[in-house]
């Protein structure tokens, strides 16, 4: 009897261990498969990341190249302007036209307006009231234009004569380029006038301030990038 009892105890332990082993091996193979999949995903991710980085690097080079070219062209034009009165006249018009068309980077005094979803948004029952909508951005842009802004960009995208401002979810699309909040509207013009226009009693700032986070900063020098891709758009 004693011997048999002992045997039972041993058997229990052994089979227990067997069960443990079986389960562990099953789990391990499963985990390995998952890891391999994760690994694949990870590889894909790193590949994508690398491509994005290299593409960015290339774009930076191209941007520099473009600027160099523009400078070269500018030199040739200036040389011509120095030689001939007529060329100088055309050049000054050309400079203005380029700036107004938005194909060259510009700088000057201005204002930077930063818009962000209100922090109350998460806790408020009516969230839509507290997030930045596309018409809010348009309103600010419109007001700046009215106040004589000479050039405007949103999140680094220069507004040109056929730019649109669209919001999809939390992102904004300007000139077909998507970017996320905060939305930074930079404008060149008389800083005091621009700020004053936003600050009018009952104006944009007052209306929006209760709902979204909006900051206005006057700046002595704002730099706006050039609109890239004008060669592509077909102006008939």
């Amino acid at each position: 009897m004693n011997r048999r009892n002992k045997f039972h105890v041993y058997l229990t332990i052994v089979t227990f261990c067997t069960g443990f082993l079986v389960a562990t091996s099953i789990e391990t193979t499963k985990l390995m498969r998952k890891e391999r999949m994760n690994d694949q995903l990870f590889q894909q991710e790193t590949q994508l990341n690398e491509r994005i980085l290299s593409e960015k690097e290339q774009n930076r080079h191209l941007e520099n190249q473009l600027l160099d070219l523009q400078r070269q062209v500018g030199k040739v034009e200036e040389a011509m302007a120095n030689r001939k009165e007529e060329a100088a006249q055309i050049l000054s018009q050309l400079d203005a036209a380029r700036m107004q068309a938005g194909v060259v980077a510009v700088e000057g005094p201005g204002i930077v307006v930063t818009m962000q979803d209100s922090q109350h948004a998460a806790s408020s029952p009516d969230i839509t009231n507290y997030i930045v909508h596309e018409h809010d951005v348009r309103l600010v842009v419109n007001e700046l234009r009215l106040a004589g802004a000479e050039a405007i960009s949103i999140n680094g995208q220069r507004l040109v004569s056929n730019s649109s401002i669209r919001c999809i979810g939390p992102t904004i699309i300007v000139n077909g380029v998507k970017s996320a909040a905060p939305f930074v509207v930079s404008a060149i013009g008389d800083p005091a006038t621009l700020e004053g226009a936003l600050n009018l009693p009952g104006g944009v700032l007052q209306t929006l301030q209760d709902f979204v986070q909006i900051d206005v900063a006057k700046q002595s020098s704002v730099q706006l990038p050039a609109f890239v891709g004008d060669a592509k758009s077909k102006h008939s």
């Binding site: 058997l11 069960g19 191209l62 011509m80 036209a97 980077a105 000479e150 040109v160």
Partner: protein, 247 residues
């Protein structure tokens, strides 16, 4: 006796094996929660696409400037390079909206809704009595839809919209830049007519303006003329950036 004890042994073995398996699974799943994916591949793809698009645009711009430079360099006489410069000026003025453009596009007329007697009986939404008038944001919204769907140029009541154009309510009327525009509003948009028309349907433009008792008539035109912007524009504050900035 022997038979019975053997049975017990057998059962015991099975049960303890099962317990062992269960215990392990339990331990495993509680010790090591499922891994979360770090960042969605789709997001990365989108940003890659953005960069590629930019790359393409940059290349196009570079080739354009290269061509310009080449034209300057190879022009044999002063007059020839002057004419190259004039061409470049014309191109930029066109892009800035200071030159009239023409091509296929659509014409939008926003007119008052007319209600017949028998139409009232049907299932048309009743007109909003003393309803809203169209305000500046309505026009801005509509213009934005047109531009977002590839319109190259848009004019409202003959006034060409450019990068600095403001549309704003001043009192009861809408002012575009320094000119007031009166209803009925007529918009012209240069672009792919089909794309623009379907975009208008998709965005529910017709329904939206019906709320303010307006009817939108859109029709395509093969040859549309959009006038130049005639506003005087002075540049007082901005100047061209000569060096590469940090942006």
């Amino acid at each position: 006796m022997l038979q019975k004890s053997r049975k017990i042994t057998f059962i015991l073995a099975i049960i303890s094996a099962i317990i062992g398996v269960m215990l392990t699974v339990q331990l495993r799943s509680s010790l090591d929660p499922v891994h979360k994916e770090s960042r969605s591949i789709a997001e990365l793809r989108a940003s890659l696409q953005k960069e590629l698009e930019k790359h393409k645009n940059l290349l196009a711009d570079i080739s354009k400037y290269n061509q310009l430079y080449y034209q300057y360099e190879t022009s044999l006489s002063e007059d020839e390079s002057l004419s190259v410069m004039r061409e470049e000026l014309a191109r930029n003025r066109k892009m800035g909206g200071m030159v009239a453009v023409e091509g296929p596009g659509i014409v939008l007329n926003i007119v008052d809704q007319v209600y017949d007697e028998h139409m009232m009986d049907e299932h048309v939404p009743p007109p909003v009595i003393g309803g809203y008038t169209i305000d500046d944001e309505d026009l801005r919204w509509l213009v934005n839809i047109l531009f977002a769907n590839g319109a190259q140029a848009v004019s409202v009541n003959g006034h060409r919209l450019i990068s600095t154009t403001a549309i704003r309510n001043v009192g009861d009327v809408i002012q575009i830049d320094t000119r007031t525009v009166q209803p009925p509003y007529e918009m012209k948009a240069l672009g792919e007519p089909e794309v623009l028309l379907s975009a208008l349907k998709l965005e529910g433009v017709e329904e939206y303006f019906q709320l303010s008792n307006k009817h939108v008539i859109a029709e395509k035109q093969d040859n549309l003329m959009i006038p130049a912007n005639t506003e005087e524009r002075y540049i007082r504050f901005m100047k061209t950036v000569k060096e590469k900035g940090d942006s």
